[in-house]
């Protein structure tokens, strides 16, 4: 879902840049610098996750992992993902530099959203906790697809059509990410529950 250079109109690029800048500011302020290594590791995981290649139907898609990044970092996900996206653009030519703001919003806004939506629930025992963990991964990709479609709609393509295409293509990724996030959350619950948000967690 990295959008390449030369597709989006100026206003869309500018608003993306502004939103990304604001989010980065908030993220840097609320970032726990005692745990900055965690932010670095998550940023690196997102950076590399795009190399996990899932060949599906007519095109190819990659794992995104913005759900787990958002869950563990909250607003800090914005600068973490911004850095990873910048490096992906420069080193892998995924996306672009002018589209960096928009791509950051596409990846980071869902990350922050699932943090607030499901964060308080993931440490609960029983089916609710499991469902919340799965939904973190699932919804993060879902929201990313919706935002990507929204940014493309201003190039004259119909939103419903583009959104339908993106979501249909990424449905397997949504499910896989949900499952991967679920495993990660279960792992963290056992090993270091304080990493996860929710009652009793350290920031």
């Amino acid at each position: 879902m990295h959008i390449s250079e030369g597709i989006l109109s100026g206003p869309v690029l500018a608003s993306g840049a502004v939103l990304a800048a604001v989010g980065t500011g908030i993220g840097l302020k609320t970032l726990d610098y005692d745990r900055i290594a965690r932010a670095g590791i998550l940023s690196a995981s997102f950076f590399v996750a795009s190399l996990i290649h899932v060949p599906i139907g007519p095109s190819s898609i990659h794992l995104i992992m913005n759900g787990i990044v958002g869950l563990l970092l909250g607003w800090g996900a914005v600068p973490a993902l911004l850095v990873a996206l910048l490096l992906q653009a420069v080193l892998f030519q995924f996306g672009g530099i002018t589209t960096l703001g928009v791509n950051t919003v596409i990846m980071a806004a869902p990350a922050v959203a699932v943090y607030f939506l499901f964060g308080p629930l993931v440490r609960r025992s029983g089916a609710l906790g499991l469902a919340a963990a799965f939904l973190v991964g699932f919804c993060a990709v879902l929201f990313s697809g919706v935002i990507a479609a929204a940014s493309l709609v201003f190039t004259g393509e119909s939103f419903v059509e583009v959104a339908g295409l993106i979501l249909a293509a990424h449905l397997p990724v949504m499910v896989i990410e949900g499952i991967v996030t679920l495993f990660c959350v279960l792992f963290f619950r056992k090993v270091q529950p304080s990493l996860l948000p929710g009652p009793g967690a350290s920031p």
């Binding site: 250079e5 030369g6 950076f47 190399l51 190819s60 850095v83 030519q93 499991l130």
Partner: protein, 214 residues
């Protein structure tokens, strides 16, 4: 939670580590789209694909004059990601591919490639060329038809060269496609670690200054 009994944290840790380290080996890519083009005779062939080999079907191709920006023609790629068109004019051509879902890329075909691969050029051939064609040597001796034969030979040679060189040119175009490698991944991770360290350093310097001022 009964489920947690089946999760051996050591195994999961090993699996996650293995995934992270195997990734450079897989070296698979996505989320770029590539287009390259080459000239054969008076036709420009374009091929569009995702890195890793998948063809771009029904991708939109637009051809522009690179110098003036004028749109010359457009078309759609077929099932194999190919789209060919006759050379519209002898100029640098910018070929843009839009593959939907936000993927776009371009390739520039220089006018010199066209001149080299163009049809029969009416340049007079040196006398030495005629010796390669024993069949024509009789008419060469006549002298009246020498103006036609060198051009015909040149046209024939150019055609054969086009045919033979097309896969070579195509291969060179494919080589120009920049593949990501282990160095890129390691470099990126290094930058991230460096930025994290820099962030921590700046943050704590500020904190120390604040504490000293109190």
């Amino acid at each position: 939670m009964m489920l947690s009994c089946s999760f051996n944290s050591k195994r999961i840790r090993a699996a996650l580590l293995a995934v992270f380290f195997l990734m450079p080996a897989a070296s698979a890519q996505a989320h770029r789209v590539n287009v390259f083009a080459w000239v054969e005779g008076d036709t420009v062939h374009t091929e569009s694909g995702f890195p890793g080999g998948k063809a771009v079907k029904e991708g939109q191709i637009a051809v522009f004059d690179d110098a003036t920006g004028e749109k010359l023609l457009e078309g759609q790629t077929d099932e194999e990601g190919n789209f060919s068109f006759p050379v519209p004019r002898r100029a640098d051509l910018r070929i843009e591919l839009t593959a939907g879902m936000g993927h776009k890329n371009e390739w520039i075909v220089r006018s010199d490639e066209m001149a080299a691969a163009g049809g029969a050029a009416p340049a007079p051939a040196a006398p030495g060329d005629k010796n390669a064609e024993p069949a024509k040597s009789k008419t060469a001796a006549a002298g009246v038809e020498t103006a036609v034969d060198p051009a015909q030979i040149e046209a024939a040679v150019e055609k054969v060269l086009d045919r033979k060189l097309a896969p070579v040119v195509k291969g060179m175009a494919e080589l120009r496609e920049r593949r990501t490698g282990v160095a890129d991944v390691v470099g990126g991770i290094g930058y991230i670690i460096g930025l994290a360290g820099l962030g921590a350093y700046i943050h704590y310097r500020r904190k120390i200054k604040e504490l000293e001022q109190r």
